[in-house]
Amino acid sequence: MNKTVNNKAWWLVLPVFLMVAFNALVPLMTVVNYSIQETFGNNEFFWSGTTWFEQILHDGEFHASLRRQLVFTGLVLLIEIPLGLAIALCMPRQGPWVSVCLVLVALPLLVPWNVVGSMWNIMALPDIGLLGKGINALGIPFNYTRQPISAWFTVVLMDVWHWTSLVLLLCYAGLVAIPDAYYQAAKVDGAGPWAVFRHIQLPKLKHVLTIAVLLRFMDSFMIYTEVIVLTGGGPGSTTKFLSIDLVQKALGGFDLGPAAAFSIVYFLIILFLSWLFYTLMMREEAR
């Protein structure tokens, strides 16, 4: 058979390419553009090379917020992933309670982010908030506007409340998809609950967990709204995470160049860490 070789089919990709370009590439390139130039307004730009990058990479404030960000994201992942998985394992898999549980569990995901922030802001108020007052009543001093520990506790708790459901729902979907035959075989083979978890449920949930970790990592690494409403980055700058720092630099200081360089470094860190998580969690597959 005679094959005609031509590449005209590539033209069919053009619309998608244009869409992606306007969605992602053009804005990104604008930022890249800012990051290597200097401007004093009036739309006049001067070449500045890697100056802004060097400045950002040597900026102590940036280092501090990056460290805070890593600790926060680490804590959030360490709590939300096991907790979501554990609750998913306990949820009923059939019967009338399934839909009730699912709706209850999905509720936090439906609350707008700034509302989440205000809710927790009010709830944690030491004098009138349920949480704040309750903790103080226990004899533990709690004031999230003054003590960094209290602020961190509230921020982490808020994120756990807001996002554990996502992990839970992903895990639940993964669990429900495991065919009954696996559990039956395990019973016949004399496997206990731990062996069932270790050899059936966990391996079958691997892909779902990878997705959960990636989503939670990316989201928590970019957290802004809830924290800005809850603590505004304080007390001091103890809860100033990367995105808060970025916004302060870009809008507050109107330093377009350094802020653009910051954005790119921020983006590259997320890209790199996502890749790292993905390869680590998927490395078994390759063997």
Binding site: A181, A185, K187, G190, H199
Partner: protein, 357 residues
Amino acid sequence: MAEIRLENLRHSYSANPQTDEDYALKRLTITWQDGGAYALLGPSGCGKTTLLNLISGLLTPTAGKILFDGRDVSRSSPEARNIAQVFQFPVIYDTMTVFDNLAFPLRNRGVPEAEIASRVGEVAGMLELTKTLHKRASGLTADGKQKISLGRGLVRPDVNVIMFDEPLTVIDPHLKWQLRSKLKELHLRTRRTMIYVTHDQTEALTFADQVVVMNLGEVVQAGTPVELFERPQHTFVGHFIGSPGMNVLPCEVRGGKAVFGGTPVDAANIGAANSRGRTELGVRPEFVSIASSGIPAEVVRVSDAGRYRIVETRSHGHTVKLLLKEGGEAPRGSTFLSFDPAHTQVYEDGWMAGAHR
């Protein structure tokens, strides 16, 4: 090793069953002898898997008892019953190697590693898995995975019964034949009770000493392949076993004869018939022959089936099939049929007249 007895066993998947229709397993009393090779044969949805899951303890019966050597285990866990079961679709533990998969049932029971190695080695040898023993199980083909499932069923030497639920459906035809003979060979060697579920009659008849035929949640007949062939207790068994199946023709019982379309016919069990209900005559194509007088019939079609030919005739508005050995003239046009009286049975409401139910 144990004799397994099921007494008035019933099972329904609905919480409060009302009628017989609600039962996936209507009522079953049967004894599986220790060391027997049984085939459980029946059409899709007749309750075969339900029965196996009841024996293994994955399901708890709605009513009735399960006795292992006289001990009531109706409510014990699968582990306590010490049984092995191979499921219809391969179940493997993805993260483990083939070796660890096969060793899993033994490890869970705390068998010493040295013994595990020898048991696994033996089973792997039998199933030709030795070369892949240290590969990850998830990388194997469907055939390989089902072999692992089979292997996990065979690896424990002391089980009361091994149950196979259509284990070879996903396996290649040539391998299927080979694995089936291996199972048979294993049974002869170890004399462990085996129950083999299938809806393929050749598979059942070649594997088992005893075949249990089920239909609509009931056992219709249990017997040796020869019994099922020569004396089907129910027209369903006559249809289901044999190819082509038994001819079932409406008849009347009059004066010690079965009358089919006006022609009196002798039947082996005519003495037991009391012409209650719907009466039918059952005769296998193997026991019908062309004669010079008898039942008038019209030859419709002759088809070649290898070593014999299938002749399809019409008689009194009903199709009657018969088998002819190779060679000789193919009959044509109008002719007469004769039924072998020793292998012609009268059925009342589907059941063989005189059969104890």
